[in-house]
Amino acid sequence: MNNFTIMADTTCDLGENYQQEYGIKVIPGHFVGPDETEYISRPAWDVGFTRESFYAALKKNPTGFKTSPPSVGELFDAFSKEAEQGNDILAISISGGMSGTQNFMREAREMTLNKYPERKIVCIDSLRFGPGFGLMVVYAAMHRAAGESIDQVAAWLEENKNRFHQAGWLDDLSFVARQGRLTHAKAFFGTLAGVKPIGEFDYNGMTTVLGKAKGAKKAYEILLGYIEKTIENPEEQIIFIAHTDRLKQAELYKEMIEQKFHPKAVCINGVHPACGVNVGPGLMAAYYVGKPISKDLSEERAIIESLSKAD
């Protein structure tokens, strides 16, 4: 039995093409603009913004935008719609450390099961956000397509979610710091001209700065070295590259990754407001599956440090 529905909140940032290709249902959230206008937050540029205009507005007004997750009622409605059709649900959320979505999902699950007690709903905390979370949802869909049951897919996710890596830079850390999505967010940051902070998920899914590279050239060199040391079976993988407002750099990164690792595919994805508001315009990163991330990130830090020294 594997005819269950995979649902994820909007921060997975999987656009229409992924939703169709992998049969994924995305639950929209909300965001508010600087003029207090409320928007539905979907992984699409469908509320009057383009990528360029959105990030230009965000740069101009870094604190003017706010995001909020789907409410318990909205989640209940979304779950009920599936349950009514007789579908079990695997619901995956953004890291519980960053958002209340996971808790809302669990409440909505209880409400839905009261109404449809014969259904099965499994909630998974991805411990990731944005493209790392999205890649995990795609993997869940691939496991389902391979014939695995809802429990098997859920078990695989629980066992492997710590293997989803982020290798990229966030050249404006102020956004993640402001939203509390950065380890040691109390540290404050001014303009880092030319410096690329290398970011990775920590054990709990928060972004941590593992090292800093002076200039893009060195940053690419370190990132490719880091992927090489942490990735497993790259030729069998779909690698995501996400960028907020760094398309040129993302394209260059894609080319380098293709040449070096020959993965099945490298997909460049934009980042929509649900995540964009929180990471700002400076994200350019690759997402892939690799070795489990160490609890204190000591192994990962050591890798970055040795790569930083190499000339």
């Binding site: 380890t183 040691h184 001014g190 303009t191 001209a193 410096v195 800093k212 002076k214 200039g215 893009a216």
Partner: protein, 551 residues
């Protein structure tokens, strides 16, 4: 005229005259700058350092206690390289005479020898052609010229004459001096001090002989005294700051023969930091004292007060300390940096600098300011970014004075280097050595280019410029000069090798640079290297229109 021994009081008088002489030539020494940029401040730094020592030291009949306080004050107050070396010279001088109540000629000569030796030791890589050479050669060459009959006056005369010869030869030892057509400024300043000391012995008292106490204003002058900072349990450590204007009276009940010099001598028994000036029948006095009643009594011998002000300096110090201490939470690693300019200070603070010291236009932060900053910080480790070659030694001296093992001075030579060090800091890491390594590498990876206005005509590094032109320096090399700053920078950038391989450039716009410079600068840099990423930040720094960090 036939002085055989120098005690504490005489030495103090001599040195005050030395300071006065130095002050009279301060601007001339400031102008002895290798670069034609208005940041030459050797004269100012030496004055401030010596003044600090004089202000710190209490008058004493015996020489050694006076020298002890003097050298301590100078070590703390040392500003700039010249100030640091001067303080070391006096430290050595004291070390030799540390048991001497009154020094004879042989003692003094030995002390001058010890002085230069201590100063040489204090400098990591002593460079010849500097104040060190002048102080060394000057005293060593007196050897064959003195005997038992030599007076202190004669010793100092010979010493000065020999130092002048040595100074004249400094351009032969130090090519940068020759190329710039100047002699060593520190050496010149030191000679003026010794000359002033000699003049005192010849009875030539110079005006402005007494330090101006402007550096220690009483902040609570508006009457807003923090009462909780002083109570019956307070240990009264800082005395009073007293200022008054005295009207000398004609009534026979007052002493009629007023002489300013003897009045000052009387006051020195009760306090220090004395400034007293006379205009006709009125005398203005400033003094720091623990015994205000005695000062009042001494003054009332001659007249009555027109104005009078007395403030408890303990409160002022306590307020300052409290302010500093309150502000600093515990950190694994704290950074202290020297900058100038509103934008620059803000930038450094935003990047996580815990203490940003305003170095002023010429960046002449005193060792004492660093020591105060260290005290205010609660951190496992401290990194200092002096951001100017001339501040590195003052910072290092502060570390030695504070006797701290956890302070690392990264010898950043420009604010751009300091900025790049900070941008590479890993503030969320608990690995202190890693963070220091990161900052060091950050500072080392950049090339600093600065643009300023020439203060005089000069030819060096194959470039000629006239006063008023824009000049461009790459680290310590003059790269270009032109009437137009953009043209000058463009020419300089083309002269810098390997620029096409660099990726980023951060530009700090100085206080005189309009924001509109940003677009032209970006275009100019991209013209030299189309791939370069340019970031402009408002630094508002003095003197330098633009400071560039290229990496």
């Amino acid at each position: 005229m036939n002085t055989r021994r120098v005690n504490g009081q005489l030495f103090e008088k001599m040195l005050r005259n030395g300071l006065a002489n130095l002050k009279q030539h301060r601007e001339e020494i400031n102008a002895l700058n290798v670069f034609p940029v208005a940041d030459g401040d050797t004269g100012t730094n030496m004055c401030l350092t010596l003044e600090k020592g004089l202000r710190f030291a209490q008058s004493s009949q015996e020489l050694y206690p006076y020298l002890k306080m003097l050298s301590e004050g100078m070590l703390f107050g040392a500003r700039g390289n010249s100030g640091v070396i001067l303080s070391q010279l006096f430290s050595g001088f004291y070390q030799e005479l540390s048991r001497c109540a009154a020094a004879n000629v042989a003692d003094l000569r030995n002390a001058f020898i010890r002085a230069y030796r201590v100063a040489y030791r204090a400098v990591v890589c002593p460079v010849e052609g500097t104040i060190l050479t002048v102080a060394r050669e000057g005293i060593e060459r007196t050897r064959s010229q003195i005997d038992r009959r030599t007076t202190v006056e004669a010793l100092l005369s010979i010493y000065i004459a020999e130092m002048k010869k040595s100074l004249a030869a400094t351009p032969d030892l130090l090519p940068v001096l020759k190329e710039s057509g100047v002699i060593d400024s520190g050496g010149a300043g030191y000679i003026y001090i010794v000359e002033g000391m000699l003049k005192q012995l010849y009875g030539e008292e110079l005006t402005d002989a007494i330090p101006v106490p402007a550096a220690e204003p009483v902040e609570s002058a508006d009457g807003s005294v923090s009462l909780e900072l002083f109570n019956e349990n307070t240990v009264f450590e800082h005395g009073y700051c007293m200022e008054f204007l005295l009207q000398l009276m004609k009534d026979p009940q007052y002493t009629q023969r007023f002489r300013l010099d003897t009045f000052i001598e009387d006051l020195q028994l009760y306090g220090n930091s004395i400034v007293a000036t006379q205009a006709d029948r009125r005398v203005k006095v400033h003094i720091h004292t623990f015994k205000p009643a005695k000062v009042i009594k001494a003054a009332q011998e001659y007249g009555e007060f027109l104005t009078f002000k007395l403030e408890n300096m303990h409160i002022q110090h306590a307020e300052r300390e409290q302010k500093l201490l309150e502000k600093k939470p515990h950190r694994l690693l704290s950074v202290v940096a020297v900058t100038n300019g509103e934008g620059m200070i803000k930038t450094f603070e935003e990047l996580g600098c815990d203490v940003v010291l305003d170095g002023g236009p010429t960046m002449n932060t005193a060792s004492e300011e660093f020591v105060t900053a260290f005290k205010a910080i609660d951190a496992d480790a401290i990194v200092v970014l002096p951001n100017n070659k001339n501040v590195v030694r003052a910072a290092e001296q502060a570390v030695a004075l504070a006797n701290l093992a956890n302070v690392t001075v990264l010898p950043t030579a420009s604010m751009a280097e300091g900025y790049c060090a900070l941008t590479m800091d890993m503030r969320d890491s608990e690995d202190i050595p890693l963070r220091i390594r990161q900052m060091r590498e950050g500072a080392q990876s950049i090339r600093s280019v600065s643009v300023a206005t020439a203060t005089r005509n000069i030819t060096r590094d194959g470039i000629s410029c006239v006063a008023g032109q824009s000049i461009v320096l790459e680290n310590d090399t003059l790269r270009a000069a032109d009437d137009d700053p953009f043209e000058a920078l463009a020419a300089a950038l083309h002269a810098i090798e390997g620029l096409d391989e660099r990726e980023c450039c951060v530009v700090f716009l100085g206080e005189d640079a309009p924001n509109a410079d940003e677009d032209r600068l970006t275009a100019l840099l991209e013209d030299v290297n189309p791939m370069i990423e340019v970031t402009c930040i408002r630094g508002d720094q003095h003197i330098y229109r633009w400071l560039l960090g290229i990496f």
